[in-house]
C-alpha cells in the first residue's frame, strides 16, 4: 500500500507537482480547502439588491420567523465592498442595469450571485421594453431561485445551494473560480447572440424585429446582425 493508494486521485500531483499540486487536490490542499470553504460558507454576508416583491420576501427571511441569522447571514451588508453574495431580489429594468453591474463590479472576490425570483432570472411576467430579461445577461449568476416570489424557504434553499457550491470549491482551481476579466467591467455579461437567443421572439405580441439602425432581422445568426 503505497502513497498512491491512500491519497485522493491517486496522488499524482503529490508526486509530480509538489505538496500544493496544481490541477488536482492533494491531502494538504483538501484540508485547507475544507477550512476555508467552511469559514466562507457559514459566514456569508449577503448584499441585498432588493428591488420589488422578492425583496419583501427576503426581508421576511431575515426576520424572526425564518431567520437567516442561523446561517450566519444576518449581517446584510449594504456596502458591496464588504459583501460576499449578491442577492438580486426583484425585477431589474434597463435603467437599473448599470447600477447592478457597478455594484457587482465593486464586490471583491470571492463573490457569488443569487438571482432570486422569476423576474431576476428571466424577466418573469415582464417581457416588455424596459425589463432586463434575466440578470445573467449582466452579471454571472451562480444560483437561480424560481418563484414569484419564492417563499422564504425557497430563498433559504437557494442559499444552501450556494453553500454547497462553496463547499465544493478548491484552492487548486482558484483561478477558475475567481476568474474575472478587468476588460469586461460594465460590459454585458452575455454576448449579443446569447442575449438575442435568451429573449427570442415568440407569439405575435413581439412586433420587435427592428434594429437600431433601421434594418429588420428575424433571427440573429452572427453578431453583426445585432
Amino acid at each position: 500500500m503505497g502513497l498512491k493508494d491512500i491519497l485522493p486521485g491517486g496522488g499524482t500531483s503529490a508526486t509530480t507537482g509538489g505538496i500544493l499540486g496544481m490541477g488536482s487536490p492533494t491531502f494538504l490542499t483538501s484540508r485547507v480547502d475544507f477550512i476555508v470553504n467552511w469559514g466562507r460558507r457559514n459566514s456569508l454576508w449577503p448584499m441585498p439588491f432588493g428591488t420589488a416583491c422578492c425583496a419583501i420576501e427576503m426581508m421576511a427571511s431575515a426576520a424572526s420567523n425564518f431567520d437567516l441569522a442561523r446561517f450566519g447571514m444576518e449581517r446584510m451588508s449594504f456596502s458591496p465592498r464588504q459583501a460576499d453574495v449578491l442577492i438580486c431580489a426583484g425585477r431589474v429594468p434597463y435603467k437599473l442595469a448599470p447600477v447592478l453591474r457597478r455594484v457587482w463590479d465593486q464586490m471583491p472576490q470571492p463573490k457569488w450571485c443569487i438571482s432570486m425570483g422569476a423576474c431576476a432570472s428571466s424577466g418573469g411576467v415582464f417581457d416588455v421594453y424596459s425589463m432586463v430579461q434575466g440578470i445573467d445577461t449582466i452579471v454571472p449568476v451562480d444560483v437561480y431561485i424560481p418563484g414569484c416570489p419564492p417563499r422564504p424557504e425557497g430563498l433559504i434553499y437557494g442559499l444552501m445551494m450556494i453553500q454547497e457550491k462553496i463547499r465544493q470549491e478548491s484552492l487548486t482551481r482558484h483561478f477558475e473560480h475567481r476568474a474575472e476579466e478587468p476588460g469586461l467591467v460594465a460590459q454585458p455579461r452575455a454576448s449579443d447572440i446569447e442575449v438575442a437567443e435568451l429573449s427570442g421572439a415568440f407569439g405575435n405580441s413581439t412586433q420587435q424585429d427592428q434594429l437600431s439602425d433601421g434594418k429588420t432581422v428575424r433571427v440573429a445568426s452572427t453578431s453583426e446582425d445585432l
Binding site: 435603467k95 405580441s205 437600431s212
Partner: protein, 235 residues
C-alpha cells in the same frame, strides 16, 4: 391601417386593438348636463369651448373641451367659488391608436363641494401640445412629466419638462403610444448595450438642482446613435 378585430381563440395573442377611425367616436353614454352643476355652468360660461359631454358608468361625467382654452377653463374651475376644484387627482393621457387624437385627461375633485369631474382634451397627433397647469396645481408637475415621457405630449410652461420614468436619453420613443411595440424597438442586445453604457452621473450638476431651473439640455439622441457618440459631453 384598419386591423381586423379577432375574437375567440384567435384573439389570445392579439396585442392592443387600435380603434377604427371609422367607428363613431364616443357614441355611448347619455348626456344629462342637469345632473352635474359644473357641467351646466361650464357649458353656459364657455359655450363652444365645451365640445362634448358624456356620462359613463352610471355617474361619471366627462367633458371634452378645446385644448386651446384648457388653461382658462381649468383655472376657472379651480377659482370659481361655486366649483372650487382644489384637488387635481390625476393628469394622464389616452392613446386610441390608428391616427386618432390623443386625449389628455384631467381628473378633478372639489373638497369643498364634494364633486368630481373629468375633463378631456383631444390633441391631434401632429400638434401634441397643451398648456401646463402646474401654476394651478403643483401636483401636475410630475404627472405631466409622466405624460410627456410616455406619450410625447408637450406641456407649454412646465418648469421642468423631461423624462421621468425612462432614462433621460431613451431613444426608442414614447412607450405608451399604440404604435410602440411592447418589447421596444431595439433588439434586446442593443437595449442591454445601451443600458450598460449609460453614465448615470452625467445628468446632474449642482447648478441643475435649483427648483424651477431650465433643465440641463440633453441633446436629442437620434435613433441609431449612442448618447456617448455625441460631441457634447460634459463630465
Amino acid at each position: 391601417m384598419k386591423e381586423e378585430k379577432k375574437s375567440g381563440l384567435d384573439a389570445v395573442d392579439e396585442g392592443p386593438v387600435s380603434s377604427d377611425v371609422s367607428r363613431a367616436e364616443h357614441s355611448g353614454g347619455q348626456a344629462d348636463a342637469g345632473e352635474h352643476a359644473s357641467v351646466a355652468a361650464l357649458t353656459e360660461h364657455f359655450g363652444s369651448a365645451v365640445v362634448r359631454h358624456r356620462v359613463y358608468a352610471g355617474d361619471q361625467h366627462v367633458l371634452w373641451i378645446a385644448p386651446e382654452k384648457s388653461h382658462e377653463i381649468l383655472s376657472w374651475l379651480k377659482s370659481d367659488p361655486d366649483h372650487q376644484y382644489d384637488m387635481m387627482s390625476d393628469v394622464t393621457a389616452v392613446d386610441y391608436g390608428n391616427g386618432r387624437p390623443i386625449n389628455v385627461v384631467y381628473q378633478m375633485f372639489s373638497t369643498v363641494h364634494r364633486r368630481e369631474l373629468r375633463i378631456r382634451c383631444e390633441l391631434p397627433l401632429d400638434a401634441l401640445e397643451i398648456d401646463s397647469v402646474v401654476d394651478l396645481w403643483k401636483v401636475a408637475n410630475w404627472l405631466e412629466r409622466e405624460v410627456f415621457d410616455l406619450f410625447g405630449v408637450t406641456f407649454k410652461g412646465h418648469p421642468d419638462l423631461r423624462r421621468i420614468l425612462m432614462p433621460d436619453d431613451y431613444a426608442e420613443g414614447h412607450p405608451l403610444r399604440k404604435d410602440f411595440p411592447l418589447r421596444g424597438r431595439f433588439s434586446r442586445a442593443e437595449q442591454t448595450r445601451r443600458a450598460l453604457n449609460q453614465d448615470v452621473e452625467r445628468f446632474y450638476r449642482p447648478e441643475d438642482l435649483s427648483a424651477g431651473h431650465t433643465p440641463q439640455q440633453v441633446a436629442d439622441v437620434e435613433v441609431g446613435t449612442l448618447a456617448s457618440d455625441d460631441a457634447e459631453g460634459d463630465a
